[in-house]
Amino acid sequence: MSNIWHFLKGTLILVTKGSKAYYSWVLFLLTLMVIGAVAYIQQLNEGLIVTSMRDQVSWGFYISNFTFLVGVAAAAVLLVIPAYVYHWKPIKEIAVLGELLAISAIVMCLLFVTVDIGHPERFWHLIPKIGILNFPQSLLAWDVVVLNTYLAINLTIAIYILYSLYYKREPNKSFTTPLLLLSIPSAISIHTVTAFLYNGLGARPFWNSSILVPRFLASAFCSGPAFMIIIFFLVRKYTKFKIEDKAIQKVAELIAYAMFINLLLLGAELFKEYYTASAHLAPVQYLFEGLHGHSALVPWIWTAMIFNLTAFFIFLVPDTRRNNVTLIIGCFLVFIGVYIEKGMGLVIPGFIPDVLHEIYEYAPSSIELLLSMGIWATGLFVFTMLLRVAIPIMNGDFHVADDGVGSYIGDELFLVKQDSKEEIETGVLVDEYAE
């Protein structure tokens, strides 16, 4: 028990130390979090009327962000599979970063759902035994279960591995392996269930399509890994942690496959809707070309289409994939493209036109935007804190002191520009033939 206490004390000391860049980044996030909290207080006071949501469009920006972030969280599995199923060493070294991203993304998901509900103080109604969880009838009940399970699994794995490394112990495989294997179906389940949540509603033809789950999974395997690659480059540039090019390349390759499937499925959906041209075409028309003069989402969805297509070719062509500049551009395009497509582009047309064919055009209010920004900042803050502890541990700069009680902090600065390019390249060479 006292070990844990010393470990926690060490992490607390660690997160308060860093470079100027680290402090300003954290301060920036904290500012946004405070702004978000103020926006939330106002929303609690006046009710969800401060949002632009109304009876016609009863879910909006919050649930759009939630849906997108479930995908980001699920995508950590794309690192776990090559690392632990195929024992591919270059990715094994960085898989823990994926788990930390999953944790941060789930935290954001839970926050987005919390701010969307009318009576957050009644959350205990969802707890089985104390309240009533409508399981297995309600898909939302399923989502509560799988999201929390996934969060618990990832927290356990990440904390256990880091804690072991801190005490310079080899993590016990008979403990981690089953959990890691369990995290794979668990990741798929969070995204499947979230898709089912929309999928099962006969009232909403835009969502009521059996292709929705595979579409969700395919786009998740684009956006999550794209974010990971951006993080890899940042970590490599600003910390001493080494990430091999071939690990990044492998992830980029996976994005290319996932994006191909994503675009294929989207095409299949569009063909079916446009060729049949039934009354169910209306939401697709609203999204892609506007309906009865209402076209708020049209420029957004075409931006997403162009971004996704461009990114697909960037990841497909070996020259642009291997070029770090185009690769990073591609990652940004994917992330933004999927954010639009699987966020507002998925949720809003479910409500426009509404079930009685009324058109109420939705755009998030300033409170919704500020509050959402606050939640994103919270997620990034959590991720930053996790990395602040994890990276020094993995570098061997943060471990138990020689007396076996206190903690040794070798890395007082965090987020410092590194020029260790040579080191990384030699690292690649050595590892390539080591296996």
Partner: protein
Amino acid sequence: MSDTKKCDHHVLHKSRRKVLKGLAAGIGLIVLPGREASASVWESFFQKHFRELSRDELKDVIKRLERDYSKQYAKQVTVKTTPPIEGVRYGYGLDLSRCIGCRRCVYACVGENNQSRDPQIHWIRVMQLDKEKGVDLSHAEHYYNPVEVPEKGHFYMPVQCQQCEKPPCTKVCPVQATWKENDGIVVVDYNWCIGCRYCMAACPYGARHFNWGKPKLPSNEMNPNTHYLGNRPRPKGVVEKCTFCIQRTREQPGRYPACAEICPVGARKFGNLLDPGSEMRYLIENKRVFIFKEDLNTQPKFYYFYAT
């Protein structure tokens, strides 16, 4: 209401809100409310699901609600819990050939069921449709506002909760805050609803409405004859819907829903589907009847028909 009373009420309300807020967000805004108010807040916070309350607990809940509402609206408010009547399953008929689109039903409903006046909540939506196009919703006019109705070349289609036999809305609720009663009425426990609005996404008829803001209901317009599962005042942040005027129709002798009672052209019919001699049964067996969005298999107990 005297000035001091008003003031008390104001303070009470503020502190209650603050307690809930503090609990919700843990932001530390908690201000200790007065002893009486605090008891009410905590009782309501820990209140069990309506169907899990014992007889004694239910009595306490009703007593608390009646006390709070009576104080808030400065009149004697009753909150009934009348159960379904054995052998009754309600059905509703709407004669599209008669409806003139006057919306008297809409406002009679608002008055009877204590909906918020600002923002306005209507449980009935009347659509103006083209006679040439028939029931084609993509050409429906929701906000028609001529000097006189009916307008030439148009007919009118009111839509409200269809009291589905297989309601998609109750299935999706994560906390079972909404369910179908034995007489077929779909109800909401406003004290259990968490306000996630999944039911609104699931309803194919736009019958569910959310209290986006704090509902405003002037004391003099408040209908004090209420039912726990129906027209009692709602807090902000919960979903509400038509209950076939549960506070009227479950009485013995029963009364018609407010919308059926007010209809000036007799377009609205109401009765017991299980009674072979009822007007509803006659309509279903003898008139041209359709149910809305039949393909979704929600099996509404709201029948549209053409009598002429």
